[in-house]
Symmetry: C2
Subunit: 715 residues, 2 copies
């Protein structure tokens, strides 16, 4: 690890040329000089910034500031620069898990210290400029005239240079589970109504409000991504578009009373990030989001381990079995309702027998864990009732033998994954958190999938308000005390906080595979998620569905080969094989890939990328050195190319290619796949067809000539 | 303990005469036959009840029901009686502490089972009729057509028979800390604005809305009190007056969204109580409120012990010292702010030295405990900032030596009383509750004074909403796990829950002595509180102020003798001597009464009572058999009478009488007291003057002739 910090005091204003105009202000360049950031105060004393990449505008002059509550002097204009300083930072760090075994954090920093003249209040803006983009945040130091303050709105602007193409989902205070819409910025308003599909809890707020991470493509060939990093105790940011000026402005998630954030000095906002590249893959390769988060606060991380798992889950999602134990109860009163006397509905999924069957399957096929949902009492009335005391997280249904299952799993060498659905009753969850985690520790569960389905309690709060952002963080930090890994569903979209708390092993926080059973996802959904949702961290997308026509009649818009590819393209240290054991046994040759694919990586390469259309990723496994390639494809069939020049030049490899057949189609012929074994080396080039909604997956490992006997060489 | 339950099934309707009309319905009589309750459905099928006492109307025909949210069929009318049953209950139980060592629960019960015809939903109304009044509640059994439901409003009416005199405070969702107004019911509307005095958090809601317990007096000589019992997981009830019809209707405290209560079957409301008597003292003697609560859920109650205490508190209330350690900080960030480097303000009250002084004082004068406020970091910005992470309840200021003080108190045989001000940030409190209670256990603190000053977090919630009622109960039940007694200030007014959870040793929940330092209480305040606030349970009124002109210039509207009387008239198992040790040492003879007075009683007699004017109570100490008499007086001087016929007929006693002098006055001459020692027996009668805002206190103990040598006999 190398570390260089160079402080250049620059407390005077410099006159410089930037873009097409002349302004008074500061300018910095990224380490390679290609990214340029300019800061200045405009004539009214309002802070503004601009971002250029290779001398093209990325962000035109954009204002920065705050509208404060009960405050006559908002922090919008009338500022004076009292100091500014520049520094260089270069460090390489080692993540606990990830797409790369080492991450370089190399950036140029500009700290601008401002004084608001009327109120004599200090606000600093810290810019960090990387070769792949920009991060900036606001800081409020301890000071005489500012202690506690309430944010009515953050006024960070992102002025676009034109009517870009965007991959967006509706801004919403309560859900992120939307399909993406590809459109021009100018078309967002007209498409918003269609884009807002139903959800268990949703609060869209504007005709031009969209969520981050927002992926865009400019007509002059730049890929631009806006998101945030290190969202801690602050409301999540949306961006709202002024679609005449093509200027996005931050829109924070409000609390129940409409206020945005309660802060006290010393305070800092999350980082606002703009990632830029000439290729779409550059966005995926950028490590800005993690680099802007703090290093791990967990010292001993030895207990944090990637996991591949199966579960008693898809059968409930598809309607084949139920989370609940009985259909007799209109309401369940924990501690009062006697489950030993009610009539079981006969469809309960989390039975001891069914769980043991999954443990057997996991053990036989080398999975690390088994997730079981619906194991604890309370599922009869958990949804839609705004029920406060909804679960206790420790009491199993009568047909779930916690002790017996624990012993059985241990005997089989499989770990159980806990499930805590909170029903968004977060006070109740916090009240039970210690005993729930303690039970996990007592029974040896290493990880928990938590859920926040439905409207929030405290009632009136939103999923992404400061109150809830604070809660999700609380649950993760407390889990760390118990050495528990957290996979939070419906929690706020991640912002790289897993660098600091690597026990936040995954999140859902987007439209996952479950929607394939609720009418389906768009066939190109998975070509977009890595550019949007996954900018902030791993997603528990729960891939691996082999039977596309599910019990309730819904169709999974994906080919089987596409499902395999997701284990490579959708990075996560926690990967599920979502389908039933029976369905895997129908396709044991394809299932082999899920068993083989690695979970943790030394290196990741983004070979081909075009959001909405295709994505091809190659990753080298951390332990074995094997390579895996995944390709996912959009609506149209396409033949892509993989150059194997990432392989060691002097070696030969065996490649197992799981691909769509020529007639495969996500809708009409999804299970049409073929498996080829070919020999490859660094000079090989693969031309490979992917069907509509299809893709391919490749396992590549070093092989001797002996091993390759009878295996054809790929030309 | 005797227990008789007799079930009389009466599933048919009976025709009976009640009052002046003829209705179809049910009627029951209290055990002695003097109280009569009639239930019937009116022509529209709306449930109604009437209450008579000695053939006088107390409650005229009044409707019962609910307005439900999102429900086309409210539970208002269209009911049918499907069953009704009558039973008798007679049991004598032993409270852990209280005004009496045994309490008889003798009542006649009528359970009316109703079916709402349109919605096929069942609602039961359970009436319990005592010789001293009525309790009724709604019950929703488990049923096919009712699981979860949301109450928009409870529609329980209390139709008055005339324009009664009432002792009322404004209905308010956030504070109970008002002075009482005595007025005709018809005058409430006109007086409301004046009655609403400022408070740190307050939300009055109506020009005719008042709080319970509401004390009234009718022109035909009845004393009537409306309150509730067993308020558990339900919003607190106010009553709103239709001042043309003179009908009160329940008005529940809403949540942040305006809803009242979230219930699920089996559900029951708290009891609505109407206590009735021909003498005001009958209201005080009634044990309806406790009797309608469940028996203790704490099995081993040996750790629950009444306490007399002093504290580091009044000096902060009067402005002489501060809760906070420094004046330098605009904001405190727990875990970030370094208190070891800030400049102390030199006025901090909770210093080790000051605390040890109080421990010495407590030890010397036989007090059980010492309360210390402002001991833990966070007081610099605790109020008015809606601060979430405001206290951690475990980190002392640098000048408070927790270990040293604990050891010192132990050595001196004094127990420390913990203080947890939550600043109404209840999520934060719940997050820290376990560690805070654990610290108490580790350091041997037997009791905690908790506080809920300021507006609520979750923001938008109110102090008396279901959400918060649930919280206060949670804190008490969790405290019981740790064997901790709770004295909650600013929490919801008590409703007899201390029977079930006797570790709820006291509450504030009304305008206490602190207001004497904030401009003063009305001089007759303490003649009303026993009839209102104390119907629900003991109040930590913190009496014992000897110096009426306090540091900040405020004047305590009470004579010194009145202060002594409060230890008898204001029942509490937790009694503070609020003033400075120095002030007690200026009046050591008067202080002797505070040292002598008992805390727990075998028997209590209400000798003279007229709310707003005077109250004389005699109580027999549980252990020693000594008697104590207290008299508090209103605005006008008055000579009252105590007949000592409650003493054993064949014994002689020494009475020490602490009384106002003839020229005493709460405003101009409050410290004018005299102490007499006289001999009394069961035939003695005392005529005793009480000054305006004055009173007297008497200690009476058996004495031999020897003891009484030279002591005059009271004639």
């Amino acid at each position: 690890m190398k570390l260089t910090i160079m402080n250049l005091r620059a407390s005077y204003l410099i006159l410089f040329l930037f873009g097409f105009g002349t302004v008074f202000g500061q300018e910095i360049k990224s380490p390679n000089g290609e990214m340029q950031l300019a800061f200045s105060l405009d004539a009214a004393g309002a802070p503004t910034y601009q971002l250029n990449f290779k001398n093209k505008h990325v962000i035109k002059s954009s204002r920065l500031g705050f509208d404060l509550k009960n405050d006559s002097t908002d922090l919008i204009q009338g500022f004076q620069i009292i100091n500014s300083s520049e520094s260089t930072f270069d460090e390489t760090w080692t993540p606990v898990w990830g797409e790369e075994s080492e991450i370089r954090n190399h950036h140029q920093e500009l700290l601008v210290e401002l004084m608001h003249q009327a109120s004599k209040r200090k606000m600093n803006i810290r810019f960090r400029l990387f070769d792949t983009g920009l991060g900036f945040r606001y800081e409020f130091p301890v000071q005489e005239n500012m202690g506690h303050f309430v944010i009515t709105e953050e006024l960070s602007q992102f002025a676009m240079t034109g009517d870009h193409t965007a991959f967006w989902i509706p801004g919403d205070y309560d859900t992120q589970e939307y399909d993406y819409t590809e459109s021009k910025l100018s078309e967002i308003r007209g498409l918003m109504e269609t884009a807002i599909t139903p959800n268990a809890s949703q609060t869209p707020f504007s005709e031009t409000g969209v969520q981050t991470s927002l992926m865009m493509k400019s007509t002059d060939g730049l890929y631009i991504n806006i998101h945030e990093a290190a969202l801690i105790d602050y409301p999540a940011m949306h961006v709202e578009l002024d679609d005449r000026a093509m200027v996005f402005q931050s829109h924070l998630t409000p609390d129940a009373q409409g206020d945005k954030g309660y802060l006290l000095t010393p305070a800092q906002t999350p980082w606002r990030t703009v990632i830029v590249g000439e290729k779409a893959g550059d966005i995926l390769a950028s490590r800005i989001t993690y680099n802007l988060n703090e290093p791990s606060k967990i010292e001993d991380t030895s207990w944090i381990k990637p996991m591949k798992y199966v579960g008693v889950w898809w059968e409930m999602i598809t309607g084949q079995s139920s989370w609940s134990y009985t259909d007799e109860l209109k309401a369940v009163k924990l501690g009062v309702t006697d489950f030993s006397t009610v009539k079981p509905n006969g469809r309960h999924g989390a039975t001891t027998e069914n769980v043991k069957k999954h443990i057997d399957f996991a053990a036989e096929h080398g999975f690390d864990g088994v997730l079981v949902e619906g194991w604890n009492i309370g599922w009869e009335d958990w949804f839609g009732n705004s029920k406060d005391y909804v679960f206790d997280f420790v009491t199993p249904y009568p047909d779930f033998d916690l002790d017996g299952i624990t012993a059985y799993a241990k005997e089989k060498g499989v770990q159980m994954i806990m499930h805590h659905e909170t029903s968004s009753s977060v006070r109740n969850y916090e009240r039970h958190l210690d005993q729930a985690y303690q039970l996990m520790k007592d029974y040896g569960y290493p990880a928990v999938k938590s859920g926040y389905v439905g409207d929030m309690l405290p009632r009136g709060e939103y999923h992404y308000s400061q109150w809830l952002v604070n809660h999700y963080q609380y649950a993760v930090e407390k889990a760390a005390e118990y050495h528990i890994m957290v996979n939070a569903h419906e929690a706020v979209r991640p912002t790289g906080v897993a660098r600091t708390w690597p026990n936040l092993i995954a999140n859902e926080s987007a439209r996952g595979t479950e929607y394939q059973a609720f009418g389906g996802n768009k066939a190109n959904h998975v070509t977009i998620l890595p550019f949007t949702r996954q900018i902030g961290g791993p997603m528990d997308y729960t891939p691996g569905v082999f039977e596309m026509d599910v019990f309730n009649g819904s169709h999974v818009n994906s080919t089987l080969a596409n499902q395999l590819a997701l284990y490579v393209t959708m990075y996560s240290p926690l990967q599920m094989a979502a389908d039933y054991p029976e369905n895997y046994m129908r396709f044991p040759d394809a299932f082999q890939f899920i068993k083989d694919v690695a979970l943790d990586w030394e290196k990741s390469l983004y070979l081909e990328a075009e959001p909405g259309y295709y994505l091809t990723v190659a990753r080298k496994a951390k332990d074995t050195g094997e390579w895996f390639v995944g390709n996912v494809n959009g609506f149209e069939g396409r033949t892509g190319e993989v150059k194997f020049d990432f392989l060691d030049a002097d070696k030969t490899y065996l490649a197992e290619i799981y691909s769509d057949t020529a007639d495969a189609h996500y809708k009409t012929n999804p299970q049409a796949y073929e498996i080829r074994r070919v020999a490859v080396d660094a000079n090989s080039v693969l031309k490979q067809f992917s069907a509509p909604g299809g893709g391919y997956a490749i396992r590549i490992r070093e092989a001797s000539k002996e091993d390759l006997k009878g295996v054809k060489k790929l030309k």
